[in-house]
Symmetry: C2
Subunit: 242 residues, 2 copies
Amino acid sequence: MTSRQNRTRDRAERGIPEATVARLPVYLRALHGLQDRGVATVSSEELAAAAGVNSAKLRKDLSHLGSYGTRGVGYEVEYLVYQISRELGLTQDWVVAIIGLGNLGRALAGYGGFASRGFRVAGLLDADDAIVGERISGMTVEHVDRLEDVIAERSVSIAVIATPAGAAQGVCDRVVAAGVTSVLNFAPVVLSVPDGVDVRKVDLSIELQILAFHEQRKAGGPELPDGDGPPGPAHYVEAVDA
Amino acid sequence: MTSRQNRTRDRAERGIPEATVARLPVYLRALHGLQDRGVATVSSEELAAAAGVNSAKLRKDLSHLGSYGTRGVGYEVEYLVYQISRELGLTQDWVVAIIGLGNLGRALAGYGGFASRGFRVAGLLDADDAIVGERISGMTVEHVDRLEDVIAERSVSIAVIATPAGAAQGVCDRVVAAGVTSVLNFAPVVLSVPDGVDVRKVDLSIELQILAFHEQRKAGGPELPDGDGPPGPAHYVEAVDA
DNA sequence: ATGTGTGAATCGCTTCACAGCA
DNA sequence: TGCTGTGAAGCGATTCACACAT
């Protein structure tokens, strides 16, 4: 016998590929867009186009969640929104604290995507006395000394680190010690954490550097970007030839 | 005969794996850190630890650039910094324009990682008359009507889009029409661009959603996160069973 | 007739393990 | 001896192509 619950379980089991997980939020956003336009049903081809992937990948991804489509028809938008939301854990609220309220932290505090759908910013903390006490997006900035208290009192489960590079590891150690196991890091450093703690990193300058790499290749045409001349100052050539 | 220049070319050839390119900026940052601490030579093991990867991967990555290490010794930090910088195209300056100066755009305009090392912000543009004319990080915000002029006059080669979602595709179409082939997109939409244009996307809420997925799995322990009960409102179950 | 769900083939990245060189 | 550079093996993700359900 295979009840509906067990069918779901048979598919999802314990392992959805990381690559698939990373795309589910993209599908979800595309589906919300369709929902807003009043679309009730969508084919893998259409949804894939809206999400910027090919349809085979989309179908394979969705198949990891279960059989939520109808052959010959497509997917029911509302149902799929619910299933993906549930899989991502967005049917419950996640409490977020933002540490570091420089330009970036302020932007994050005011970012609609954080406050909406599944995430609640419950703490803003900074080490700078000139910033502590300030009101940002309807919340008062607290001193980072209260970090452990805030995490415990408000059941924070995700920490967003937007401090300068030098402060990030220290803050990270403290939030981990306070029981947080999910960290979103905007500081340009590699954070070390114990096993069982997830860190995701968003690095603005890394993305730019990747673009620069490709831009350089385009500019240089089919040949090497800056000719076949010496790769740099004589010093460096000598460093190897010597 | 194999001159140094040709050796370089033999290795790098035309194809460095994307996965490797994406890690080069991380290595570069780690190397800068070592440089600041006065370290002259580093082994793959040490550098890998600093960059948060394993040493086999690091060595394979570097081998795509050329043989820049010394067996039995390691890599010369300064030399490697230069080689990676050159490969990424950071030995030349890239001119960047930021479109959209809400909270996020302001954060980007003031972000040190942009202004430093290889990138020069040469234009800030916004559609809001209340923002146009404002001075941000030493630059005056111009009206987005001047977008094409700014791109042409200042030879902008990378556009950073930090507008609201609704405006992003329109801005993207304009920068592409103006000749820009590299776009860094912070707006929560999938941008369509013609072949030959690179778009990289940084999405704050997607990262949070991925964290939520893993956090949910941890909280639920080895079993399913919220038990084996019905996956949601009866409505949804019926949508499939009907 | 149409579009999903999925084995099978393919591709690219990671990891292993050691040859080769300093 | 010690560490790099790299073939070869392993692994996961993507793509193909079609059986199957509606």
